[in-house]
Amino acid sequence: MLSVPDLQLKSVEYRKNLLRLIKTAKAGHTGGDLSCLDILNVLYNRILRVSPETFKSPDRDYYIQSKGHCAEALFVVLADRGFFPKSDLDTLNQYGSHYIGHPTRDVNGVEQNTGALGHGLAVGVGIALAGKIDRRDYRVFVLLGDGELAEGSNWEAAMMAAHYRLDNLVAIVDRNGLQITGSTEDVCQLAPLDQKFAAFGFEVCRCDGNDVGDLVRTLEEVPFRPGKPSLIVAKTKKGKGVSFMENVAKWHHRVPSDDEYSQAMAELDAVEAALK
């Protein structure tokens, strides 16, 4: 379990590994990966009761990444946590590799195949419901993109989560405010997002999704209220950590050029040095 300063350093390390991975593979959802990386960092290094040794245990915590297109961020974190050798990621997107552009269960540590949007929350509800039926104390964490909330299936699942009083379910919205076309609010208005989920029966908290300290404080409090599913609106920046990528929609799945890559790594090196 990492301390907050260690988590801060780990986030920089992950961002560098992520950019290296995307640069080598010549593909990836760079902006969204960077926005959710701090959430994944805190989940896997502080919150989730799961490890390579306990991954098949019926009592483990579950993590479902509904925003499956940000698979590279998940792979970087799973590799660091020892679910598979880091060198496996050298095959990302290559012919025959299990390490593809979306999470699949062929990759150790991945709970559910995702990629089509609006699927993860219902699967999470099913797992959480089974936990209640079996009286197990595991928790289920589902990471949702904000853009994917336009899919109605999320709201079907949200109703059921509240109906069955699934306080072992934690949905986290990576609220970076951008999708491939532009602002989520211009494409299909989500605001007031927290009120919407509250109206659906969730206990809602907001936090800074790129501040590991705030994420720790928030995630350690779940469930926020017994008998209710938890929803965290994690305010993030798409492209977080690289100045010229932050809040720029075109970085949705753009691969940095050589110059951009060098500049990004230099920025991250500087942050890392300052933290040390």
Binding site: R105, Q112, A122, V123, D134
Partner: protein, 312 residues
């Protein structure tokens, strides 16, 4: 012999028997427990039924999650909604993710005949045949339904099982037992082979009685498993009889008939062949029996098709 029931009723009764022996067996319904004859199940095993409301996508997604956590899940909903609205959940959350969910399409085909195309499922074989990792079953009578439900409960792979709500007569069975992926021989004959599935097997058998009077002896196979197809029995039929007619409560596009046609052609077997099903057109409405008659899926219609095929 037990009284003949609707396959739907047999499904519900069998599921309750299985649930009593397996506390991990769960039924998930979308406001469909009444339609699915599961009210007695809900009363007898209230802890083993999960209601999700009128939300078929959610039904399948939650079923996948329950299966991920080790539950033996039957996701039950009218076939028309289940295999159209939640097709992506079946494809990704169940099949692609290797979740052993039994997807149960009730009131399939034109069981809801007079309710119109919104309530017909004449596409389900076609769309699911194109999805990897799912076994597709359409039992013909009460025996096949009971055995198919028991088999689905034991399998650790995704299964799609569909049936209607009309009382189905018990079929003669020339060979004992029931094996998924192996057709049931219902009648032996040397002239024409009918390969039918689900609720079209009974009218096919009626046709064979009419044809026998004209000296045409028909073999009848209940091809309860549409995928994987019993290829050997289809090839044998093409070699041993003078023609093959497939019959299904489904579009002529992409179902049992085209599966058999593809097999025969790719095996180099040139036989007289006819697919009987629903044409690529707006579907007429009425009762299931009336609709079957309209499209020649009754004794007289199928007998006429067979005679035409024999006469070449």
């Amino acid at each position: 012999m037990e009284p003949a029931l609707a396959n739907l009723e047999v499904f519900a009764a069998t599921l309750l028997e299985l649930a009593r022996a397996d506390s991990d067996l769960l039924v998930v319904t979308s406001d469909s427990r009444g339609s699915a004859k599961l009210a007695p199940f809900a009363k007898a095993a209230p802890g083993q039924i999960v209601e999700v409301g009128i939300a078929e996508q959610n039904l399948v997604g939650i079923a996948a999650g329950l299966a991920a956590a080790g539950k033996n899940v039957f996701a039950v909903s009218p076939a028309c909604f289940l295999t159209a609205r939640s097709l992506e959940q079946i494809k990704n959350d169940v099949c692609y993710s290797d979740r052993p969910v039994s997807v149960i399409g009730i009131s399939a085909g034109v069981s809801y005949g007079a309710l119109g195309t919104t309530h017909h499922s004449l596409h389900d074989f076609a769309v699911l045949r194109a999805i990897h990792n799912i076994t597709i079953i359409a039992p013909a009578d009460n025996f096949e339904t009971r055995e198919a439900v028991k088999a689905a409960a034991k399998l650790s792979i995704p299964v799609y099982l569909r049936f209607g709500k009309k009382t189905m007569p018990h079929l003669p069975r020339l060979l004992p037992g029931f094996d998924l992926g192996k057709a049931s021989l219902v009648r032996q004959g040397k002239n024409i082979t009918f390969i039918a599935c689900g609720e079209t097997v009974a009218p096919t058998l009626a046709a064979t009685d009419l044809l026998a009077a004209d000296g045409i002896e028909c073999r009848v196979l209940s091809m309860h498993t549409i995928k994987p197809l019993d290829e050997a029995v289809v090839l044998r039929a093409a070699k041993e009889t003078q023609g093959v007619i497939t019959v299904e409560e489904h579009s002529v596009n992409g179902g049992l008939g085209e599966a058999c046609a593809s097999l025969l052609l790719q095996s180099g077997l040139n036989t007289r062949f006819k697919i009987v099903g629903f044409p690529d057109d707006h579907t007429v409405t009425g009762s299931q029996t009336e609709i079957f008659r309209h499209y020649g899926i009754d004794g007289a219609g199928l007998a006429a098709t067979a005679k035409k095929l024999v006469s070449g």
